[in-house]
């Protein structure tokens, strides 16, 4: 798990730097600080399980097994990106590993998860669907319609709300009146739980219970993970709307550092082992960047392909 956390963090940091350098097109929505959510939830899922994601999909996709190279190529708008340069950051995905291309419409991926859940059920598989969304998304109509459908049809869907306290610049307390978003599950007759989204083990445990229920045909769960963005909402966001004290407190709960400390404290691995892992990951990222830079761009006219399957 630490390897994955470290990968997510450094992949996104690297993207960020390249973005600042101006060598990367488009826009970015990053998830540094939220890595434990993606890794904890997805660590034990199968390749055949599906996942829907959001405008902030990089962590989810890496954790679901989308190849680092193909993601990096997509970020560089290359022809061999996971979406052939057609999708871009906000639509990252790879259906061959169950990562449905991300939907950048807030909560717009949630009804899609219902369809994937129906599909898993109707085809009589025991695969499940992980549906990621944010705190802000929970105020969309699509959230409501999806939650209710999953509940009444007892679908194998795990709804994972990464509550990072903000929807863009808006604090969640300004747009809901309840304490925990997990409470909303009750409105659908669905179980709802809260977990510490910065503790990868806690996330993993809560997620695995929900996944297990779903796999066994016992229906959906809403899992609210309390977490925080270390980065801005999108590029060029200095987070002027956030309280500095709040930032400080959350930054101290960094999920990557926390996992590392835990491993070292519990002596689950020696420092050198972790260093070796880190070195390997950084090398992988370097390689991916080099590979992406060397990869061919699509031809302009390729824009006309793939409108229809």
């Amino acid at each position: 798990m630490y390897e994955q956390l470290f990968l997510l963090r450094n992949y996104e940091d690297r993207i960020y730097y390249m973005f600042l350098e101006g060598i990367m097109p488009g826009t970015i929505h990053q998830s540094q600080g939220q890595e434990a959510c993606a890794v904890g939830v997805l660590f034990d899922v199968r390749k055949e399980d599906y996942m829907t994601s959001t405008h902030r999909p990089a962590g989810h996709c890496l954790a679901k097994g989308v190849s680092l190279e193909s993601m990096m190529c997509e970020m560089f708008a290359k022809a061999n990106g996971c979406c052939k340069g057609k999708g871009g950051a906000m639509h990252t995905g790879d259906i061959s590993v169950g990562a449905i291309p991300a939907v950048a419409i807030t909560a717009g991926g949630m009804p899609v998860a219902i369809g994937a859940g129906l599909s898993c059920k109707m085809r009589k598989t025991d695969n499940v669907v992980i549906c990621f969304f944010g705190d802000g998304a929970s105020n969309e109509g699509a959230f409501h319609e999806s939650m209710n459908a999953a509940a009444i049809w007892n679908l194998p869907v795990v709804f994972v709300c990464e509550n990072n306290l903000y929807g863009a610049s808006t604090h969640i307390n300004q747009v809901i009146k309840i304490k925990d978003l997990a409470e909303r599950a009750a409105a659908y007759g669905m179980p709802g739980y809260v977990a510490d989204g910065n503790d990868v083990l806690a996330v993993n445990k809560a997620a695995n219970e929900a996944i297990d229920r779903a796999r066994k045909g016992k229906g959906p769960t809403l899992l609210e993970l309390k977490t925080y963005r270390r980065c801005g909402h999108s590029r060029n966001d200095a987070c002027g709307y956030r309280d500095k004290q709040e930032e400080k407190e959350w930054f101290e709960k960094d999920p990557v550092a926390r996992c590392k400390n835990y491993i070292l404290q519990q002596q689950l691995a020696a420092p050198v082992e972790l260093e070796a892992i880190e070195k390997k990951v950084l090398q992988q990222i370097d390689d991916a960047v080099a590979f992406a830079k060397a990869s061919p761009s699509p031809e302009p006219q390729d824009a006309l392909l793939h409108v229809y399957a």
Binding site: T52, C82, I95, I114
Partner: protein, 339 residues
């Protein structure tokens, strides 16, 4: 040969495809509740008897979910046929159709496919403005969708079967007044375009229009109910010595320009008739396309007879005024012959 109404023909298409392919299923509101309606216009009535309620899935009143679930199911190995009771409610699911269904294949660089069908009844039937719209013009404007509009039982069955087998999202516009005039849910003003439908299986390819009536003075391109209005107008005009060729494009995306151009090379006059409101209706595109590619074949302006640019009014006298009638078409044709 069986003689079927359009509602029956659509039902048979769904039945045959569901028998043929396990992946095909239907979802929508009230589509086959025991003792219920079989969808707003009976198309799915009784199918749950054969296929069960899992494959004929009655949903909550949640249009965003219905469309999104169709997209998600289609991407993951199923072939959903989703239903809205009235086309007007497509606006409630517009985001899922326009931003997801239509774009997923493209955004994924062709790595996913979205083989889904979205069925929607259109047309004005004295129910007022929110149950009356013809929405073709909105959907022809969305790259990534295919749009079909069958006006006969034969076409309904053949086109819907093709739609179900297509690897892309297909929107089917069905006209409320064409489903058939029998049964207790039939519309008062309904036509009865029952038609012969072969017993053997057949498919109708997209992008092939048909000439409903041959003529040499004016080409009229019309869809759905307007095909029948145009035919009526052609009868009237024939008596006055004006010979009208009526083309039913059957599918709007893709569109059979070849057939239209072939026809106007003969007639040198083009009229487009649609129930949808005129400004930016599908007819606007056809007119624009012809004005771009085949202008030199024309001897006269391209005329559109369409719904006036107003919401659909309730009062029958006003509704009848807004929806193109045979006499309005005929009048426009006479004027066109003089210009």
């Amino acid at each position: 040969m069986a003689t079927l109404s359009i509602a029956e023909a659509l039902r048979e298409a769904i039945r045959e495809e569901m028998r043929r392919d396990e992946r095909v299923f239907c979802l929508g509101e009230d589509i086959d509740i025991e003792g219920g309606f079989g969808g707003a216009f009976t198309v799915t009535l009784g199918l749950s008897k054969e296929f069960g309620h899992e494959r004929i899935l009655d949903t909550p009143i949640s249009e965003i979910m219905i469309a999104g679930a169709a997209v998600g199911a289609a991407m993951t190995g199923m072939i959903p046929i989703a239903d809205v009771q009235y086309g007007d409610f497509l606006f409630c699911m517009m985001d899922q159709l326009a931003n997801n269904a239509a774009k997923m294949t493209y955004m994924s660089g062709g790595t996913v496919k979205v083989p889904m069908v979205m069925r929607a009844p259109v047309g004005a039937t004295t129910r007022g403005a929110q149950h009356a719209q013809s929405l073709e013009g909105f959907f022809t404007h969305i790259p990534g969708l295919k749009i079909i509009c069958p006006s006969t039982a034969y076409d309904a069955k053949g086109l819907l079967k093709t739609a179900i087998r297509d690897n892309n999202p297909v929107v089917v516009f069905e006209h409320k007044l064409l489903y058939g005039s029998k049964g207790n849910r039939a519309e008062k003003a309904a036509l009865s375009p029952v038609g012969e439908v072969p017993d053997e299986e057949y498919l109708i390819p997209f992008g092939e229009g048909v000439i409903r009536r041959e003529g040499k003075d004016i080409t009229i391109v019309a869809n759905l109910l307007m095909v029948y209005r145009a035919m009526e107008a052609a009868d009237i005009l024939e008596k006055e010595g004006i010979s009208v060729e009526v083309i039913d494009p059957r599918t709007l995306v893709p569109f059979d320009y070849e057939l239209v151009i072939h026809s106007i090379r003969k007639t040198s006059r083009l009229m487009i008739v649609e129930e949808d409101t005129k400004r930016n209706g599908w007819g606007a595109e056809v007119a624009a396309q012809i004005a771009e590619d085949a202008l030199y074949y024309l001897d006269a302006p391209i005329v559109r007879v369409a719904g006036y640019d107003v919401p659909v009014p309730f009062a029958p006298v006003m509704e009848n005024y807004v929806v193109p009638s045979a006499s309005r078409i005929a009048e426009a044709a006479r004027k066109l012959m003089k210009s």
